[in-house]
Symmetry: D2
């Protein structure tokens, strides 16, 4: 029998389960259930998405992998001190958080992250084993989660910190080559192993991070073969979001952008990881690419700085300076300062993506979920980076779905 269209219990498996996005998600869900919060930031809580048959927020059951030992209340306490979570939510969410805590398993560690503080020793041990063994352990965790919680389906979401950038490898170009490399015991970035485990288990996979995850050809092939929907990479939450809204303006007005400089400062764990240049590389590539495409200028003078400023904690602050030329050669400028909590911006997008990924699976859709491009800095399915165009595509998807249901 086919799984029920609209699940009564949907598992959400978070890679990076103790991080600040996950923490915002747990307490936010609790707040929504208790009526303490409005669904601000959750686009699927608004028309026309409310007319789609998306999973109820009450049906979500949370679990996940993490490589850190600190418990959730530690992350939560930090977010309270930083003015992101309120004490009321901590109280309201304590029950849900305790259940969730029980469903967190040690994950596997990317080689590049060995040495970062606070590691779970089991995660460190797992990561030293052959990739097939790592995948088997991750797969077993997913299966246990589904069985123990009597879940209809499970969606897997990567919200861990960015892993180090690695150049293209031949073994990633086809599923055959990748399977051979796994068989040969060749070490792989952790994000690939998580993605493999999820897709092989038939779970939709959402890559909210800049890490490669399911975006390599081999895993896209695996997803098509297993008929699994997936999407990514790299949630478009802040400065890049504003960039992809503003850049089309210059094109639409035939104004010539001379330089676009962006300086990002952040102080959370993600910032600490990005301070390492191998990790930063992945992020900066995504940010530059969007601008060059939108402005139609491969030689655009653009720069993206990412600096770790611990005192800012989760409050990402970015300054962009756009120097442009108008008629008569007159030089003008637009500068903006963005101050936002990265985690509070990301968490509701994760909720949206979980609902959309589950719907895609229920509808039998397979592959890159191109209608989710608006959520990502580097949409796997490619296409324009123009946020408004991406959002219109999402609306069109919703309307097609709603019309189809209406006709049915």
């Amino acid at each position: 029998m086919a799984p029920p269209h609209n699940p009564r219990r949907l598992g959400v498996w978070l890679i990076g389960a103790r991080g600040s996005i996950s923490t915002c998600l747990v307490y936010g869900l609790a707040g929504l259930r208790e009526g303490l919060l409005e669904p601000t930031g959750i686009i699927t809580a608004k028309d026309p998405f409310t007319r789609m048959r998306l999973v109820d927020l009450d049906a979500l059951v949370l679990g996940g992998h993490d490589v850190c030992q600190r418990d959730l209340s530690h992350s939560a306490g930090e977010l309270v001190r930083h003015g992101i979570l309120s004490s009321d939510l901590i109280v309201a969410g304590s029950g849900l958080a305790a259940e969730y805590e029980k469903a967190i398993r040690p994950g596997t560690l990317d080689d590049s992250d060995v040495g970062f503080a606070d590691l779970d020793s089991r995660a460190a041990r797992l990561s030293s084993r052959p990739p097939r063994d790592q995948i088997a352990a991750l797969t077993a965790d997913l299966a246990d989660f589904k069985r123990d919680h009597k879940l209809d389906r499970v969606v897997v979401v990567n919200v861990a910190s960015t892993e180090a950038f690695r150049g293209q490898r031949d073994e990633w170009e086809s599923l055959v080559a990748f399977e051979a490399a796994l068989d040969a015991g060749k070490s792989q970035p952790a994000s690939l192993l998580y993605a493999y485990a999820a897709i092989a288990a038939g779970s939709p996979y959402v890559n909210f991070t800049p890490s490669r995850g399911a975006s390599i050809p081999a895993l896209r092939e695996l997803a098509r073969e297993r008929r699994v929907p997936h999407c990514g990479n790299d949630g478009k939450t802040g400065e890049t979001l504003v960039k992809t809204v503003l850049a089309p303006l210059f094109t639409a007005r035939a104004l010539k952008v001379l330089s676009w400089q962006g300086y990002n400062m952040l102080g959370n764990r993600d910032g600490a990881v990005l301070a390492d240049s191998a990790h930063k590389e992945t992020k900066v590539r995504n940010k530059n690419e969007a601008l060059r495409q939108l402005l139609g200028d491969e030689n655009l003078h653009t720069h993206v700085g990412i600096d770790y400023v611990p005192s800012l904690q989760d409050w990402k602050t970015a300054w962009d300076y756009i120097h442009f030329e108008g008629f008569l050669g007159a030089k003008m400028s637009l500068q903006f300062t963005w101050t936002g909590s990265d985690s509070a911006l990301a968490a509701p997008l994760v909720i949206d993506l979980v609902r959309l990924a589950d719907l895609a699976q229920a509808r039998g859709e397979v592959g890159e979920m191109p209608h989710t491009a608006a959520f990502f800095k580097a949409p796997i399915g490619g296409g324009t980076h123009d946020f408004h165009a991406q959002f219109l595509a999402l609306l069109a998807y919703a309307e097609r779905h709603n019309s189809a249901r209406h006709r049915a």
Copy 2:
């Protein structure tokens, strides 16, 4: 016989002929003709507009009305000192400017502007006469212009300073009532008389200012009756442009805007006029309305300040502070500073609008030109203020036109 589709000589009649937008237009056209300038800022110089059969820039012949005496070289000198026009352009444009200067006639003065410096005495005399006489004088100027320069058609553009705001009047609600008021000699805002004269003479009319112009029901009726296309009001050149690009972002992400404060500073003649609160009223209404519509919040806390800062001259500088709430009630902000030359931003839009208005007339289109909404803060035809949606509508118009021509 129908007028030629693509005119060999198109008159452009500028109300506010000695102002800085007109000055940028004259010298900019000269620069384009001499190959000194690229068509930066002119959207009709780009695909798909280049595939439409728009009037050549070489075919434009300039003339206009003004109420000031200072000659064009005075305005040009100011723009050079302010770093907007280069000396090269002044040299290149001297011939065109001299011809244009000969085609400028004294216009009629709005009552609210009596007392502003530097008035042409003939303009002041004209404005004291009954409205029918004023219209007759303006009409005669247009006819002379067309005849003297052997023009195929003439487009009239209002680029004068904002006139004082006036409340709705019953006599504006229908053409019959308006004609009766004119017959009765009842004084009218100058922008209405200019618009009447243009439309009655069969000329497309572009209102780039916040003044009422052809937007009152009576004149919209006149335009339909005479089968004339027209558009307006209030060119969307700077801060409001950015606002109508950014505001849809918050809606699309379900973020809640708590307050949107905008502070505009400008130092040109327009700024001096807006320092007077009766004039400012018109402008601020247009700016607030767009935000409230886009954010879907009639009670939005929003404020638009406009301050006259003489030292800034034509360099409009605006600071906007957007306070918004995300998931978990976390409060965030986006602030931007815009620094642009208002006149250099406006002039290429005027060129675009002249070309589009002429094409509309050639195609037999009548009325408010809804496809031009992207150019205006308060589009006469109404509709969304979302800049990207407006721009998509313009692109769709161009594509329909191009397809139709291709089929033909």
Copy 3:
């Protein structure tokens, strides 16, 4: 016998006792006593002030007048929600807050504030009585406070919201005239009555508000007569502080400031009061005056906007744009955005001023306390607005005092 030099118990009587500055003060003092806070923002906690014989923070006993009914826990709850006070401090300060609450008496209401929400009915009744009666009631409250708490001395501080601006009055020009006006029952701004009561009772008086308080000639005369030190007006906490630091730079570099525009947004009670133009007048005068003096340009183009933006709560946000000219007539700009909690900035300055006022009294100093100019937007004693010069004067005062003690 002289009063003890360094009091064992010093009363601090706060006018505006339930406002956010007072709330920050109470909980902040508790936090300091419990070792939960560092004395950040308290200049007298640093050398050379620590070498003066200033009252210990442990010796301060708090009480005050207010015209509102809401209790302190309401103000405290707001400050927690706004991220200014932490929950830890609320717990730590609950005992001190309860004692303080008992020592708050209904004050007298300025005529201009009748109608603002949440008034204490006794305050409203008091304000309708003749001024001599009001003074008598206030004086009795001070005497009770001193007696009930066995205080060595009491310092009175006005931290209430700004009262409406009133033009100069003849009766304020001398003590004789003012006493006559009081005898005649002529209604007076509340801040004058509070100041009169304090000084007549021999208490040093600190006016942290822009209201007139003790700055009128009549009350300065009273202070000299009663040999009481006092200081004010209008705490220099945020945008004006930055202005008076930056403006001397332009003078010292012979750069010519063309325009200085400042836009202040705030959302606390003070903001609500200032939204009323009569109240705003007082504030804006102080802000403009400083700039004109510092830049030595009576005709400086300057503007100060103050807008009430409720969502900002206590987080004052200000944007200043400084347009200036350098060598060769080149035009340049400096813009800054200040984001600070007005109350958290003000509270430590109040602590400093209480300590300095008490010391001045102990030393037998009389009158305007010119060494405190660095604390005020409109120092009663006049002098430069240059913050660094003011601060050097304060340091010099401290050093003179320390040397004198050393010699003694």
Copy 4:
């Protein structure tokens, strides 16, 4: 006979003679002489400096060294296009510029700059010769300049682009060691050779650049021995100027700076040179050092970025973000954007320094001119970086001088 106190003809020898600072200086002097300009930015044109017996601006005669071939009119044309010089000044200054052009000699090239565009072949040849030969050539140029123009005295100023940073060398620690290294033909940074030549010839030497110049112990010894005054390093013109004005505010208010991030963008030749990390090193060191000293926090989290953004040309644009903590641990921020023409800011300071250096020589002062600290990012004589304190020291010097003259 002693040289005249107030010279009738003072030579100003500019190293970097064709750069934009020098160009601003030449045309600016011409503009001042013709009455086209006010002395904006020249502090010595204001009281109390006007009461000192400083050299008249009319007495200055310009010459200099450069390693580039492009002629002055090229630099001037660029500055006109960038809106810094006006066409009027170009006309007014053509005579002076032509004379100056004749007095420019090819200089010597720092090793690190070989390969930068547009080099004078004679400069390249000179730089390949032994250091003693280079010094001899530079010395001969200075002697010729003095003789040919009948100059009373000559002041040498380094306004060339920053040279690459080099670590400390033992041979710089004493004059004996340095002379030995020169004798041994050991290659030296160009700025040292220029400084040696100037001081050995008895000319006061002003180092406006971050290059080492006369700041090494060996050359400071030489200056004392030859009884020559000198000053430097690194003109404090823009972002660092603002930093050293603002930082003392935080100290004076006992506010705790958590992070201070500064991002500089510039597009002139100096920017191109600084894009190279070896050159940037020198600059960033000076900028960080000042902040750490002023805030009294050796562990301050601070970052200075310098990015080359060609479209900005001479318009240095910098954004600083200051994150700080106030009372109660409340976190606040101040951000500023500085937009200034580096060359137009530097040129008047060079005029001031030339006048002060000449006066110092006339008065028989020897060494580091500590009263000029306000002009430099890294004052050779050390001391506070607090701009106001530095400026008070300069005023005090002027007053001492004026009193001495009055008494005399």
